[in-house]
């Protein structure tokens, strides 16, 4: 039971290190709180809009009034009468965009000609235009009394999910939390090697298998506690669990094993504890393309296939699906993928770690 003693030592080194523990558990919890606060709950704040009224007619001011009555829009005062002034303010950053009502607005309306409105924004800030265009189109057609050719009604299905933002962010950020294990595991192995602790232990009769077990087993309680904390915090924030919580736990456990395996590999390859920072070059992009923090549904297919080759996106998608009610059969492929990765990573980790023992 030599591995047990080494494992016990490593577990103590982890849980008696408040900085490490805070990083491991605190960062994902903080992320979760911030993302959920940013995404969900309260009403989105209205967009401030400036208007240039070159028409200066009864109809144009009525249209502006209608725009001002929309909740999503916060009309900036006063209304510009000349575009040059608005252009100047836009250039100086005083306003972020403006709507130009050209002269001839009322005339065109009366003879039922096409009306052209211009939405002017800085090209560097393209999201504004995309967000505001459909609002203006909708307000415009209602104001003009034009019957839209098609009426698309948004209608969410009857759902028992209380807070969709929590159900989206909690699993993603939990998986990101397990990715932090990569740097923790690598740091402990590299640190012990750098300080000579491993060398000292190599003068004892402990075998390579004792070290491999002793340096991986202690992370299992760590990942179980992490999973419980992430799920607990998620539930505290209003996570709705529709599917089987055990399945979510299984997914978390498997992705945690993958992270430990990667940590062993990194810890065996780098020369010092500080070099394990290199792991972050992979952790953050992997989290991004795996959809830990935002949806990756519309990611370019090349990036998507990279993400899908890696285990993380499978853990995130599958745990989201289960929380939203998917059955086990719907996530079986993801589970196989995770098991496959865990086995491969552990095997490689063991080989590399063994190699560090003889010189």
């Amino acid at each position: 039971m030599k591995f047990w003693e080494i494992g016990k030592r490593n577990l103590k080194e982890i849980y008696r290190n408040p900085v490490l523990l805070g990083f491991l558990l605190g960062m994902p919890v903080a992320f979760m709180l911030v993302f959920i606060a940013a995404a969900g709950g309260g009403q989105a704040s209205p967009i401030g809009m400036s208007v240039v009224d070159e028409d200066r007619s009864q109809n144009s001011s009525a249209f502006i009034q209608t725009l001002g009555s929309i909740e999503a829009i916060d009309l900036n005062e006063p209304v510009y009468s000349q575009e040059s002034q608005a252009q100047k303010d836009l250039d100086e950053g005083k306003i972020s965009f403006y709507l130009l009502i050209p002269s001839g607005f009322q005339a065109a309306q009366q003879v039922q000609q096409t009306i052209n409105l211009e939405l002017v924004y800085k090209a560097a800030d393209p999201m504004i235009g995309l967000q505001i265009k459909p609002i203006i189109e909708a307000v415009g057609s209602e104001f003009l009394g034009v019957a839209p050719p098609l009426n698309v009604e948004l209608k969410g299905t009857e759902s028992i999910i209380k807070n969709p933002a929590v159900n989206f962010y909690a699993p993603g950020i939990a998986v990101y939390g397990f990715m932090i294990l990569i740097s923790t595991a690598a740091g402990i192995i590299a640190g012990d090697r750098e300080k000579g602790f491993l060398s000292r232990m190599f003068t004892t009769p402990a075998r390579p298998s004792d070290f491999i077990l002793g340096y991986s087993l202690p992370f299992i309680p760590v990942l179980i506690v992490s999973a419980l904390v992430y799920l607990g915090v998620g539930m505290g924030l209003g996570l709705t669990v529709v599917g089987n919580l055990g399945h979510v736990f299984l997914i978390f456990f498997l992705i945690g094993l993958c992270a430990i395996g990667i940590g062993m590999i990194v810890g065996s390859l780098v020369k010092s504890e500080s070099q394990t920072g290199v792991a972050w070059i992979f952790i953050v992009p992997m989290a991004m393309i795996s959809g830990a923090w935002f949806t990756v549904d519309r990611m370019p297919s090349a990036v998507r296939s990279v993400a899908e080759a890696l285990p993380f996106i499978h853990a995130i998608d599958a745990s989201r699906a289960v929380l939203n009610g998917s059955s086990f059969s719907a996530i079986t492929l993801d589970i196989y993928w995770l098991i496959g990765w865990a086995v491969v990573l552990f095997a490689v980790g063991i080989v590399l770690f063994r190699r560090t023992m003889v010189s």
């Binding site: 003693e5 008696r16 290190n17 300080k195 602790f197 060398s199 003068t203 004892t204 010189s359």
Partner: protein, 306 residues
Amino acid sequence: MNAVQTLKLTKEFDSLVAVDGVNLEIKKGELFSLLGPNGAGKTTTIRMLCCLLKPTNGTASILGHDVVKTPFAVKKLIGVSPQDTILSERLNCWENLALIGKVHGLSSDEVARRSEELLETMGLMERAKDQVRKFSGGMKRRLSIAMALVSDPQVLFLDEPTLGLDPQARRTIWEYIAGLKGEKTILLTTHYMEEADFLSDRIGIIDEGKVVALGTSQELKTNIIEMRSMVVSTDDLTAEVMEDLRNKYSRLEIAKGKLEIYHKDLDFKEIVDYLHSRGVTVYSAALEQPTLEDVFIQITGKKLRD
């Protein structure tokens, strides 16, 4: 069977020969010191004997077990205190000792008994339950040595056991090591000649990877030092006496009322009697004891702490 035996033990790192054909025979129960400057190859030798480094050439065995062919048999027999004090920083003394004891296969009871004994002797009992990262250098070193001893090893390797410690802490550790003499075979490395002199049964002087002299402290000093010296404090030397002495001994020097006599063999009584017989007042006289530093300079032409 020797406790430690090496034959032409050699370790090369790329182009550097760190250990160059070292032959050692350390008997059971002997305290043997490898004395040499930094970079002489002491630690590399120990690392090979502890199965941490594979020799490039030559063989080494501990109590008959080859370090390359049967490393695990060797590891069961040895205790090692590495040069850098290496502890598990967030464990307390008990836990550090238990870790090493248990990977050596000791039962919980044995570990507890041995630990208690060692913590008492090393004067660590008061702080035994504190995490060791808060300890002073001397305390850490004492615990590190205790960790090397907890498994009750037959052969003990102490790599620079008092490096960087203050004189008082060093003295405490010396006394403890001296107390182990005879019980355990100890291979100690040091670049402090006083340490080698004070503790060792035999000393191997090592320089640039080679053992350049081997023997007891006394043997090294008498066999290797070619010139001994005697300092006599006096003030009424006559030219005649000086002439006599100059004829008899290799070299004479007079400085600040002190007469220094150099020769291969010097007889204290003979010199003092001669001076008295010639009516010379002798205030004090002392035969200078050669040090291992002198031996080292004699052999290598350089100082130990260069």
